[in-house]
């Protein structure tokens, strides 16, 4: 992937107009009588490694290095190696090295990301109802130690573990620096641990698998001295998971032209409400868009 191109003032083979303008300007201000030969860089440059660029001729010159995140300038002796320290090559991307003496020459080269050492991992959603297809998705982006995104294909291993069940693994090769997966939610409510790992790097996220809509919502009730005490049976979803406490169950009691309603939260699996109605009533329950059974109670 690494490549380099050379530009010398007199050859006018600059690939881009801004580079041609820069080289031209530098040629105009060059005061030395030294000649700059062709610059050569190693065929593969990895982020965070130093390189040496051999030069020809004699005398002194000025070396410019323009990279994605910084530009440097220094005086160099022609005929010696120009040593570019690793700190100047931490960012992956396109670099231009320009050496000016009597004339100017330049070289373009690309710095590749180093080996991946960390993963950025995004999992969506943070809560997922149980028993849903393709509801969980995860995206992992490998980065090297200098936070360059590693675009070369690497294999990321995704591991999903819910409760005490055996982990489910899935290896994915990244494309253009991204590895991703989709998965169904499990049958049981609880925390789903999702780990993305790549060599020594790993990132962990938690998806809370929550009960789905209530299923077979059933109520029972009886008259008391103060009115009617009505309560649900333990509220569960269709997979048998208890619906979380705090979920609202709306009780409606209808008798004649009168109605009474109470929005009661589930506590310890059961929603209870106290209602007032003297005559015969029909009591129903609903939670969200789910309806329960109807209960008929005679007059007090």
């Amino acid at each position: 992937m690494s490549s380099s191109t050379n530009t010398v003032c007199k050859s006018h083979n600059a690939r881009s107009s801004w580079l041609a303008a820069l080289v031209g300007a530098l040629c105009l201000v060059a005061a030395s009588d030294a000649q700059v030969g062709e610059l050569r860089v190693p065929s593969r440059v990895v982020a965070g490694t130093s390189i040496s660029i051999p030069t020809t001729g004699s005398g002194t010159g000025t070396f410019y290095l323009v990279g994605p995140s910084a530009a440097t300038r220094r005086d160099v002796d022609l005929g010696q190696q120009i040593s570019v320290p690793s700190e100047d090559l931490r960012s992956a991307g396109r670099y231009v090295g320009i050496l000016c003496a009597d004339t100017c020459g330049s070289v373009e080269f690309f710095v590749m990301p180093a080996k991946p050492v960390s993963l950025t991992f995004l999992v969506h959603p943070s809560r997922a109802p149980v028993g849903q297809n393709d509801v969980i998705s995860g995206v992992a982006l490998p980065f090297d130690e200098f936070r360059n995104q590693v675009v070369a294909p690497v294999t990321v291993n995704f591991q999903l573990t819910a409760g005490s069940s055996s982990p489910m693994s899935h290896s994915v090769s990244s494309q253009n620096g991204i590895a991703w997966f989709r998965a169904n939610s499990g049958k049981s409510a609880g925390a789903l641990q999702v780990v993305a790992s790549l060599r020594d790097a790993s990132a962990r996220r938690i998806v809370q698998q929550v009960a789905s809509d209530p299923c077979n919502l059933r109520i029972k009730g009886q008259r008391t001295a103060k009115g009617i005490m009505v309560e649900t049976e333990p509220v569960r979803d269709c997979a048998g998971n208890p619906v979380p406490d705090g979920t609202v169950v709306t009780f409606t009691a209808k008798g004649g032209k009168e109605a009474s309603t109470v929005d009661a939260p589930i506590k310890q699996g059961i929603a209870r409400a106290h209602m007032t109605a003297a005559g015969p009533v029909s009591i129903s329950a609903a939670s969200g868009v789910v309806m329960g059974n109807e209960l008929h109670l005679g007059a007090q």
């Binding site: 950025t120 959603p125 929550v210 705090g246 979920t247 032209k257 009474s260 309603t261 109470v262 969200g288």
Partner: protein, 379 residues
């Protein structure tokens, strides 16, 4: 002449002032309706029922409790001046505690030599906007006309211990640092289950219901944008206070978005947008809406009334009732709301009433009431 002109001017001024003050009640509004907001110290004595009630309400308006109470004919010996004052200024941080009687309109219902019945529309200025209260007063003639006050003192709440094991949701900020993707908690899933746009005399009204489908509480707001035939937005409004903002898991709330002065005929499309944010919340207090009944009140208005019952141990300072009304196909045909002026004490009940347009009353087959609550103490 030098002295005569000032004397004439002063005399005329006094005469006009006197005439203006004595005739004020009869000079404003519809014939037969007296309006009030009398000047301090210049109220009528009570030669007629109108004058007596006007003086009484003027004193109440100015919070001259002594003179006001002296114009009262008590029917309940337990009633004292303190209870009378509390009846007017509210207590326990209820809406009435923050309200002022702005104006009133009196209308005689019937009168004889010894007694009279007056209907008064009291206009209150409150933090939630103007609130009108219609009240019938009975007056009797003793040595002068007096207002019969048959309200008993507020029942004393007995000391009691109420065990509460309510649920609440708190938000915990993760400690995973600034790593991207490590602190994400999704916003609650909230869905608009129904929407209906209707044309009214005041403009277009968009209403319906919204449900929190998630397992966590949500702070919800519904916005609507009216779009014309060319695709341009005509107006954008939010549900403001006509929605139960904090929705617990699986809770359903009506919403209503008003577009004053925008006719539905101009509207080609309505764009709905529901915004939900994760918030800390408590499932306490539980408030039941009991004995709801759709009736026509004494003024001929269609009103849904009932009683709110606070089933928990915490005072609800300002209860707010929001009701959705359905036709026989289950479509929401109207949403209306109303604030209850008295605080809702623990294990106690308070009446409520919300009005619906008379034209819609015949269509209504069913209704659903939710109760919003504002409490001074932190939940």
């Amino acid at each position: 002449m030098k002295i005569a002109l000032p004397i004439i001017i002063v005399a005329m001024t006094i005469l006009l002032l006197f005439a203006g003050l004595t005739e004020a009640g009869r000079s404003i509004g519809t014939v037969g309706i007296a309006s009030g907001s009398a000047l301090p110290g210049l109220t009528d004595s009570g030669a007629t029922p109108e004058q007596a009630l006007g003086s009484f309400l003027s004193d109440v308006q100015r919070r001259n409790w002594g003179p006001a109470f002296s114009r009262v004919e008590k029917t309940n010996d337990a009633m004292n001046e303190q209870g009378f004052i509390q009846e007017w200024i509210g207590s326990n941080g209820g809406l009435r505690s923050f309200s002022n009687l702005e104006t009133y309109e009196m209308r005689p219902l019937h009168a004889t030599d010894s007694e009279a019945q007056m209907r008064v529309r009291l206009h209150w200025a409150t933090p939630v906007g103007p609130v009108d209260d219609v009240r019938d007063f009975h007056l009797v003639h003793r040595d002068k006309w007096k207002v019969v006050w048959d309200e008993g003192p507020a029942p004393n709440l007995p000391s009691q211990v109420i065990s509460v094991n309510y649920l609440r949701w708190d938000l915990v900020t993760g400690t995973a640092g600034e790593e991207w993707g490590s602190r994400n908690v999704d916003a609650p899933h909230v869905r608009i289950t129904s929407m209906n746009a209707v044309d009214t005399a005041e403009g277009t009204v968009v209403m319906g219901e919204v449900v929190n489908e998630d397992t966590i509480p949500a702070f919800v707001n519904v916005n609507a944008t009216l779009v014309d035939a060319s695709g341009s937005a005509i107006d954008e409004e939010s549900s403001f206070d006509k929605i139960l903002h904090v929705l617990l898991p699986k809770q359903v709330s009506p919403y209503r978005v008003d577009f004053p002065h925008v006719g539905l005929s101009k509207v080609k499309n309505v764009r709905m947008d529901v915004k939900a944010t994760l918030v800390p919340a408590s499932s306490d207090p539980v408030i039941g809406a009991m004995n709801q009944k759709l009736e026509t009140d004494a003024q001929g208005r269609a009103v849904l009334h009932g009683d709110l019952l606070n089933q928990s141990g915490r005072t609800v300072n300002i209860p707010h009732v929001i009701a959705s009304f359905y036709d026989n196909s289950g479509k929401v045909v109207w949403v209306s709301d109303g604030y209850v002026e008295s605080a809702l004490l623990p294990q106690a009940s308070e009446p409520f009433a919300v009005e619906i347009p008379k034209s819609l009353a015949g269509k209504v087959q069913n209704f659903h009431v939710v109760v919003n609550q504002y409490s001074l103490q932190k939940s």
